[in-house]
Every structure is written in C-alpha cells, then in structure tokens.
C-alpha cells in the first residue's frame, strides 16, 4: 500500500516537473543559482533594495511626526497601506515583473528568438527566465512594514482579512497586467527602457490613500488605470473602512488584465510576423 502511494506521489512529482509551473520553478532555481554565484552581491543587492523601498514609509513617519497627516488615516493605517503596496511589489517584481526587462533586452539583443524555439508559451518562457532575486528585498521590506503596522493596530475580524485577501489577489493581477503592457511595448518599441520609468512614476500614486486625491483623479485611478487597487482598496478592506464602487473597480481590474494579455500576445504576433 505504502509502495503504491509513494509510486503515485513520484508520478505526480514527475508530472509537476514537466508542467508550466515546473518549468517556472526550474527557471527560478537557475536564476537563484546564477545570482548566488556572486554571494556578496546577492545579499547586498537585496539589502539595498529593501532600504530603498523603505523610503516611502519613512517619509510617512516624518509627515506624521511633524503634525501633518493624510485626512482620515492614522499613521499606522498609512504604514499598513504602504506595507501592502510593498508586499504587492515584493511578490510581483521578483516573481514575474522581470518579464519587462527580460523582453526589452532580449528583443534588443536578438535573443528573444531563443525563447520562441522552445515548445512552451512565450509568456511562460519570458517569465521563467526572468526571476529577479534582488527584488526579494522589496518583499522583506513589505513584510516588515506590514508587520509593524499590524502590531500597532487593533486586531481585525476574519471577514476583513478575507476581503483583504481577495483585494490583494486583484492587486497582484493588476501588477501582472502592467507587466504585460510594458513587455508588449518592449517588443515593438525596441530598447526603450523609459517605459519602465513611466510605469514606476504612475505606480507611485498607489502608495497613498485614494481619498487624498481629487474626485476626478480618483476616477482615473479606480476605473481607467486602476492603481487604487494596488494598496488603497486592500488596506481599506482590512481596516474595515468603506470602499466605494467595489464591483466596478474589480471589473475594471479584470478588463485591464484581459486587455494586457491581449496586447502582449498581439505584440508577440507582430514580432513574429515582422521579424523584430
């Protein structure tokens, strides 16, 4: 009986290894091994990234220590929001946002072709070959800020946590959509790394409570480029603060994600039909 179970488990493990997820894990292992070849750089770059990412929360602390505030938000509430923002970046940047740099540089160097001769989805290959351990510093920073904020806030009921997790999944989905748009642009707009800078600037607005912006700007950041979903909505959900037009905001994120997928594959089709 035990033998049959272990045989089944082994078969399942083998199946997993050859699945898309298995390829992704193998890609992460290879990238980690590559980065760990330079031990000092591996540790230092993660640490530096964490310090850089803590800049936002530090500014928040300075603002509040000087008597100013974001209306309707206490200092630890804002830190919680920024912790969520960092968590969202900390998951997306190392695990899939590398697709942007990977695509831009590969198209420029002509090595994007090497991914196209692999019998897997080009999206999977682009992500699997782009894991960035340096960005794990963002994740560590996010956990740190989130943990400190939660410790200083009252315990939240379970249903708040559930709503938060749902919003957080949408936050990750949204980051993925941004990645798809930028990678798609990188295919046709050869060597243009400014795409990334523009994105980072736009994304910065997601680090603050939605309510501090004007009504018209809130509309843009909720329904057109739904960056409010990155941290403002999940943080409000966890703190039990009212979120307006939730369903519309979530629908907008889904549309944004689908549009990102469509755009990315459209650009890949352009690449293959024009030859880059």
């Amino acid at each position: 009986m035990m033998q049959v179970i272990s045989q089944n488990t082994r078969e399942k493990m083998k199946g997993l290894r050859y699945s898309g997820f298995g390829v992704y894990i193998q890609g992460i292992k290879s990238s980690l091994a590559s980065r760990m070849a330079y031990r000092g750089d591996f540790i230092m770059s993660m640490f530096i990234m964490m310090i850089v990412e803590l800049g936002g929360p530090v500014i928040t602390l300075i603002i509040y220590n000087n008597g100013a505030s974001f209306p309707g938000w206490g200092v630890y509430e804002v830190l919680l929001l920024q912790g969520i923002f960092l968590l969202s970046r900390g998951i997306s940047f190392p695990f899939f946002m590398g697709i942007v740099w990977n695509t831009i540089s590969r198209v420029q160097e002509g090595t994007f072709d090497l991914l196209l001769i692999k019998p897997r989805s080009i999206l999977l290959m682009s992500i699997a070959s782009a894991f960035d351990s340096e960005d794990l510093g963002k994740l560590i920073g996010g956990i740190l800020v989130f943990g400190i904020a939660m410790k200083n806030l009252p315990a939240q009921p379970l249903h708040n946590w559930i709503t938060f997790f749902i919003f957080f999944i949408f936050s990750i989905l949204l980051m993925f959509a941004f990645g798809l748009f930028m990678a798609g642009l990188g295919i046709v707009w050869i060597g243009n790394y400014r795409i990334y800078d523009i994105f980072m600037t736009v994304m910065e607005f997601g680090m603050y409570p939605k309510s501090i912006f004007t009504k018209s700007f809130q509309t843009i950041t909720t329904y057109i480029i739904p960056i409010s979903l990155l941290a403002s909505y999940p943080a409000s959900a966890l703190l039990g603060k009212p979120n307006t037009n939730v369903l519309l905001a979530l629908a907008s994120a889904i549309v944004f994600f689908l549009a990102g997928l469509w755009f990315y594959f459209r650009m890949v089709a352009n690449y293959t039909s024009s030859g880059g």
Partner: protein, 322 residues
C-alpha cells in the same frame, strides 16, 4: 521531410539617412522602404540530409531560417516540415527541432551547463532516465567530462560550443538548424564538433547548416543551397558544385625568367605576386594541361609548380556575385 514552396518575405523598413541632418529629419518624417528579403524560393530536403545553406550577408538566409524555425511568419508561400507549418503550430513543431546559434548562447553564464540542461529537461519534458543517458553519451562523445559541472563563464569558447550542441540535442530533435556553429573556434574544437555533427547525422538527424566557413561546408555538407538577393542561385550536390565551372584547375607557378603566359583561350590570371610568381585558372576544355605547362616552361622555365582543383571559395564567391 522539409518542403518549401514559393516562400516570400517582404519587410517594410524606414530610411534614416546617413548624415546628422537626415537623422534629425527622420525623427519627424520617415521614408518607407519595402525590402523583398526572400523572393519565392522552393526546395525539398529529405530525412537524414545534411544541407549547407549559404549566402552572402543580407541574402535572405537568416530570414529563411527564422521562418523555418517558426520564429517568423512569411508574407506568402508554403512550408511543411514533418507535417507542421512552423508558424502555425509553433509549440508542437519546435518540440521536434533543435537549433545552435554560434552567436547567441542558450547556456546561462554564471551556472554550470548541467543546470541549463536540467532547465531544458523540464521545458522539453524529457524523462529522467533518458535525460541522464543522453547527457552522459554526449558528454563522452564531445570529451567534456566534468566540464559540464563548471560555471559556463569558466569554459573556453570551444567547450561552450560543445555544451550548446548538447543543449540543442537533448530532446533528440529530428531536424537541427546550425547557424555559424564553429565561429571563432580553433581547429581541434572545430574538428570535434564536425565529428559530432556527422555522428548525429549518421543516426538520422537532418541538419541545415548556415555558415560562412566553407571548410565546414566541405567537411559536412553533401548538398548545398546558395541563396543570393532572396533567390536560390544553386541547389545541388557538393560534387557538382566543385565542378560548377566545368573542369578547371588552379595552377601556382614560379619561374626563373619573367613569366610569359601563352596567348590562348581558357587562361585567366587570378593573382600575380611578382614577374616570377603567378596563380592562374585554366579551363581544361579549352587548353590541355600538358600543353599549357610545356608552353610556359619553354618561355619562362618553371622552377616550382602546384596544381589544384578550383577552391570552393572561388566558386562560392562567383555565385555570390550573381
């Protein structure tokens, strides 16, 4: 196995101009330019063939290879490789092909080739036993031993190229595209790689070799396709290519007196180092070899001489100038 019919590829590019003024103008107004990279080429390749696919830079060679590997869509035409249309069934199709690009590495710079092989094992879904067997066979064949466990950056160019071959052939592809596979390698590494290609070809793998190294072509290809200006200008066996200009010989002569060549049809000077040292190409259908030698010797007294068949380089150069 490979059927290509009336394959065409047209690009639209923009002219930027060469001067700063033209580059500045091109920021606002760009002139469109249509380039016919491949102009309706057709050929067939049988299973187990080793074909040299040659052409000068910009001839349409790389475009054709990119279409055949499924990377690029053609403008029109048909391609059937093992029952697949590469650009339509890309994922299924590329499971059956391999590619080695001399100037684009599939290895990962900071980790050992073996780790990169493991990544390919997952990508191509190669069963573990088969994977281990193939790796050890190929490592043995290419005399790599434990080098596959050293970081790629510590390997020589030749060792890296050998690993590129293993990477491309782990999944036992039926067709392999080679693009400049021996570029920059020393003679020993070249020889080893050529041996490996011939060995794999004997086992039934079809190879399409794109290169500017004519030694590779001479050692490996039994058939040659030459493409120029997007059209096939030659498609036949290597033997026929050697006799492309009929029966011609290259003669290198050193004489005691100033060289006086006989005034006869079928004699062409290729190069002259001095008044006493010359290289000529003679067409044996127009002048007999002994007659030529006798006449030169009478006039100039031959002190040294070598006779060779026409080099492939000379023939290919002529085809490239068509």
């Amino acid at each position: 196995m490979i059927h290509v019919s009336e394959l065409k590829k047209t690009f639209t590019t923009y002219e930027r101009g060469g001067t700063f003024r033209e580059a500045l103008i091109s920021l606002f107004v760009r002139k469109k330019k249509t380039v016919n990279a491949v102009k309706g080429i057709s050929f067939d390749i049988e299973e187990g063939e080793l074909v040299g696919f040659l052409g000068p830079n910009g001839a349409g060679k790389s475009t054709t290879i990119k279409i055949l590997t499924g990377i690029m869509h053609p403008t029109s035409g048909e391609v059937d490789i093992m029952g697949y249309t590469p650009w339509k069934n890309r994922r299924k199709y590329v499971e059956n092909i391999g590619a080695v690009f001399g100037q684009k590495s599939q290895l990962l710079w900071d980790i050992p080739p073996l780790d990169a092989f493991n990544l390919n094992q997952s990508i191509y879904r190669i069963p573990s036993n088969e994977f281990k067997k193939t790796v050890s066979e190929m490592v043995e064949m290419l005399a790599l031993k434990d080098l596959v466990k050293k970081p790629t950056r510590q390997l020589s160019l030749g060792e890296r190229m050998k690993c590129e071959f293993i990477m491309a052939m782990l999944h036992k592809p039926r067709v392999v595209f080679l693009d400049e596979p021996t570029i920059g390698l020393d003679v020993i590494a070249k020889e080893k790689i050529r041996e490996f290609i011939l060995e794999q070809n004997k086992k039934g793998t079809t190879f399409i070799l794109t290169t500017h190294d004519l030694e590779d072509v001479e050692h490996l290809a039994k058939r040659v396709i030459v493409i120029n200006h997007g059209e096939i200008v030659y498609d036949d066996s290597m033997d026929k290519l050697r006799n492309y200009f009929g029966e011609k010989k290259t003669i290198h002569l050193t004489t005691r007196k100033k060289i006086m060549l006989p005034k006869h049809e079928g004699i062409a000077v290729r190069s002259q180092l001095s008044d006493y040292d010359i290289e000529v190409v003679i067409d044996l259908s127009q002048i007999k070899l002994n007659e030529f030698i006798k006449k030169v010797n009478e006039e100039s007294v031959i002190s040294d001489m070598s006779i060779e068949g026409l080099e492939l380089e000379y023939i290919i150069k002529d085809l490239y100038q068509v």
